[in-house]
């Protein structure tokens, strides 16, 4: 088979057809930043540098998919969320709920804000446009975000929202229904715009349905809100863009999510090795319904292991999944600073060796 571009390969895989080889998917703001040659303080405010880092990333590490971002909070700034920007990291300095003293009023008083009213939102959008124009025919593009409950947590503070969901659930769910549903639809639909028809799939982060995080008594309600919001995003986009689950936690609830979201989903992307959901089980249960992206442990083998260990990990994942479902080799989440370049190049070699059809 002739060599496909990353975009062709990934689209082929998403459609359940056999590409020339198994697609390779991983991403990292930290490593894109390193490849941009500037500090985070400059990167975060310069769309050209954000684009440059991400383009160099896909070219150097031969990933078939590009995910452009700087952090999780740029769209939250119109709510009054503030961040620290250090040389390497962006982290929240101020979220809205009080850390030490819970107060339902902060949820009751939350008002809608335009997700693209902030300075950094438009910088990230501009960077996405540049990347789409530069490498849009070569690689696939995943764009999206979290659902409305997780987005509320980014505005209020993750720990605070988890706490308050238990202490006064009516106030928390009230804010989700009243503000964050509309906000999430506007945010995700707006984030997709720079990619135009180059977008290959919508990424939907299911942090709110991680088995560790989600209170069992509220899972049904969270799923109802997430599904309603996702359907509204699809209506707004106006075409049938495939939807990917993204589970970055160590206890992904694939059974619950597939039961609740059914055919709304096209691809299951989750963390294994490393999580408690074996790839073998996912392939057996869901391989005939969804494309499956997994197989790279970004926290141990890729970060701390040797190229030989990376090779063995890839071989094991391919043995489990390559010929039994539509399979992409994927990390569970973003790669970290310090992931050895030799291991990233070993990933490409191992994918080519064990993943060619």
């Amino acid at each position: 088979m002739a060599e496909m571009t990353g975009k062709e390969r990934f689209l082929c895989y998403l459609q359940g057809e056999k590409p020339d080889k198994v697609p390779l998917l991983h991403w990292s703001v930290d490593l894109a930043l390193a490849l941009s040659g500037v500090s985070m303080r400059q990167f975060a405010f310069d769309p050209e540098k954000i684009a440059l880092g991400h383009i160099r990333y896909v070219q150097k590490y031969k990933t078939d998919v590009c995910v452009v971002n700087t952090d999780l909070w740029w769209a939250m700034e119109p709510f009054g969320v503030e961040v620290y920007i250090t040389d390497n990291l962006i982290y929240p300095k101020k979220t809205l709920a009080d850390r030490t003293r819970p107060d339902p009023k902060v949820y009751e008083e939350l008002e809608y804000r335009d997700p693209f009213a902030g300075k950094r939102a438009n910088i990230v959008r501009k960077a996405s446009e540049i990347v789409a124009n530069e490498v849009g025919d070569e690689v696939a593009f995943r764009e999206g975000g979290y659902g409305p409950v997780s987005n509320l947590a980014l505005v209020m503070g993750v720990k605070e929202t988890l706490r308050d969901l238990i202490l006064f659930p009516e106030a928390v769910f009230g804010a989700v229904e009243r503000v964050m549903m509309d906000w999430t639809v506007d945010f995700i639909a707006g984030s997709l715009e720079p990619w135009k028809d180059r977008l290959t799939n919508i990424n939907w982060g299911f942090a709110s349905l991680d088995k560790d995080l989600a209170p069992p008594e509220f899972k049904e309600e969270i799923a109802r809100l997430e599904l309603e919001c996702l359907n509204r995003v699809r209506e707004r986009v106006g075409r049938d863009v495939p939807v990917t689950t993204h589970f970055c936690g160590p206890r992904p609830d694939l059974d619950f999510v597939t039961e609740k979201f059914g055919d709304t989903l096209d691809e299951l992307q989750f963390w294994w090795p490393g999580s408690d959901y074996p790839l073998e089980d996912a392939v057996s249960k869901f391989g005939d319904r969804y494309a499956i992206a997994a197989g790279i442990d970004h926290t141990r083998t890729l970060l701390l292991g040797s190229p030989e260990e990376v090779d063995a990990m890839v071989k094991s994942s391919m043995d489990i999944a390559k010929d039994r479902c539509s399979f992409a080799l994927s990390s569970g989440c973003e790669l970290g600073i310090g992931t050895p370049e030799g291991n990233l190049l070993a990933l490409v070699e191992a994918r080519d060796e064990y993943g060619t059809y």
């Binding site: 990291l89 988890l162 706490r163 238990i166 202490l167 989600a214 926290t299 970290g336």
Partner: protein
């Protein structure tokens, strides 16, 4: 009085288990006003918090429940904390990022276990740990890294303690969702634990080692 005390403690238990933060706070104040010994109240709160952690381990509670339980424990514990000599001193902080739930749970459990805990907070960098060790002279340094991007900061902190000749004076424990026993061994930490209750056990073990000169 004993019957009164039982009623007051029952009120604390009931509001804690119902996750009623404000009622738990009020019940603790009423118990203190009625003369219930501080030690009885903190013992009750600690047992309730450990129960919440056990229920989390059993899959009955989520992290959301643990977070709510931690906040109720903390508000009650602050009101009822007794002044007793600490069994050891721990400096703790989250390296690089603003994640604090895991670190706060350990801080609360260590405090309840009788340690004096100096919390450097979050987005702490290795230099701040070195300064804190020089200033506070702790027995144990607890380095939390909650995201993969901040793991190298644990290694840097241990390296800086060594470079300043401070490493022999303290035991270093590392932890956080992205850490592992392999990582702890690689960066030459003295201890590692996969969860909060085991972190408390590990800190106690390290304190014993330190006192025995191991």
């Amino acid at each position: 009085m004993e019957q009164d005390m039982e009623q007051h403690l029952k009120a604390i238990v009931g509001s804690f288990l119902a996750f009623n933060y404000f009622e738990a706070e009020a019940a603790t104040k009423r118990a203190l006003d009625a003369g219930v010994p501080k030690g009885e109240i903190t013992k009750t709160l600690r047992a309730l918090f450990l129960t919440a952690l056990e229920r989390y381990e059993e899959g009955k509670y989520s992290i959301a429940h643990v977070t709510a339980a931690a906040s109720i424990f903390e508000v009650g514990f602050k009101l009822a904390k007794a002044e007793v000599a600490p069994k050891g001193k721990v400096v703790i902080g989250t390296l690089g990022s603003s994640h604090y739930l895991g670190k706060d749970i350990i801080r609360l459990l260590l405090t309840a276990d009788g340690f004096e805990v100096v919390d450097l907070g979050e987005i702490v960098f290795p230099e701040q740990f070195v300064e804190a060790v020089e200033r506070e002279k702790p027995d144990i340094v607890a380095l939390a890294s909650m995201i993969i991007a901040c793991l190298p900061l644990q290694k840097a902190a241990i390296g800086m303690l060594q470079a300043r000749d401070l490493r022999d004076n303290v035991k270093v424990i590392v932890g956080g969702a992205v850490t592992s026993a392999r990582w702890a061994a690689e960066i030459e930490a003295d201890g590692w634990a996969p969860d909060a209750p085991q972190a408390v056990e590990e800190v106690n073990r390290l304190l014993r080692e330190l006192k025995e000169g191991a």
